[in-house]
Symmetry: C2
Subunit: 216 residues, 2 copies
Amino acid sequence: MTQRETPLAAPAEQGGEKKLSRIQQRNRTRIMEAALDVFAAHGFRGATLDQIAKAAGLSKPNLLYYFDGKEAIHVMLLNRLMETWLNPLEEMDPNGDPLEEVMDYIHGKLQMSREFPRESRLFANEILQGAPRMKPHLESSLKPLVDEKTALLRQWMDNGKLAAVDPRHLLYSIWATTQHYADFEVQIDVLKPDDEDPIEGADTYLDTLFRKLLTP
Amino acid sequence: MTQRETPLAAPAEQGGEKKLSRIQQRNRTRIMEAALDVFAAHGFRGATLDQIAKAAGLSKPNLLYYFDGKEAIHVMLLNRLMETWLNPLEEMDPNGDPLEEVMDYIHGKLQMSREFPRESRLFANEILQGAPRMKPHLESSLKPLVDEKTALLRQWMDNGKLAAVDPRHLLYSIWATTQHYADFEVQIDVLKPDDEDPIEGADTYLDTLFRKLLTP
DNA sequence: CTGAATTTTTACCACTTGGTAAATTGACGA
DNA sequence: TCGTCAATTTACCAAGTGGTAAAAATTCAG
């Protein structure tokens, strides 16, 4: 089961520390991979350093040679994640066709649920627990971006390019419906009658849902 | 399966229940309340018996006098939750007006996010971690109900009472959008510009969203 | 009131967990 | 080849965890 390469693969570029040996590169990457697996599956407190170390093929003290502690690993994963997560929304282009821009965003978001379910669950876990390690990041990164894009959406609506709805709730519903396929995967697997990929059907369903909503 | 625990705070629908002293009633209820708080906020592994005991105003050994262990408390909470959770869907009436039945379901679901956010988060936590203690329950309770109601929805669609969409994905999107307001509450609080209740706006937004989708 | 049953507390314990100190091995350029 | 620094292992701990035994306190029927 080869896991897809994630954007988390590259190690941190902490100011100044650029010189990383090949061993450092390799092991840090392996640790981040393993930690993503374990944190996504069990949450922060549910994950143990032993699990992560084992999954990374290292001893626990060896793991702690590379990172300052459990929390440091988690924080680094979350920071990495935010870039990837915000990217599709950032790319919503004020000069593009409004409806198609939103639909592209939706399909992109859904695609991320399929490609990066662990990242989605990592995020969901963190938010569910009250975002103890990410709230500042949300305020500083997510909020400004959302404010900007809701303004853009409202403008499109004012110009009659999109049906008028609350832009904030529109975003919520896009996030909710797309991430649901990653975060509640177990439930969906229980309920699905056939063996086909649920996200396949989701793609056409969500297209209909939001197109009907937003077509002026 | 050795013991059959008594449901406590929840109305005892099962027959053959033993009489519980007033002290038992009171303390079991308090424990369940406290446990719901703690499990919803921290997940199963993140919660500790000490936290629960403290929140319930009891000592840890005293708490364990009433329940067989941490897992037993968690399982009981989940079982009680399932009834509440499935109830609105069960009430979707084959003899009612199709569109209004679905819309009632949506509004009811949203109302539950507002009234029982802890229950929603308890459920979300369990599913996110792979539903280790609830998968059987999902198969035995949720799946049959969903199969029944998707059949009903499909029938309504075939009769032209509802626009034709995938009924399963319709349910997913209803769950996702409504529960989102409880499960991602922290995020929504960060993003909301004013002090008004986000669920207020959600109510009209979701009404528009699903009405546009389903109106034939 | 009184004695038995119920409830609560006190004092533990075995195990897990995140983390550390120091000794040991490995890599690699001069 | 050697010396040095990077990488890894070994042997630990202190705190926290779920859980238990048994004594102490409380409740309550008769």
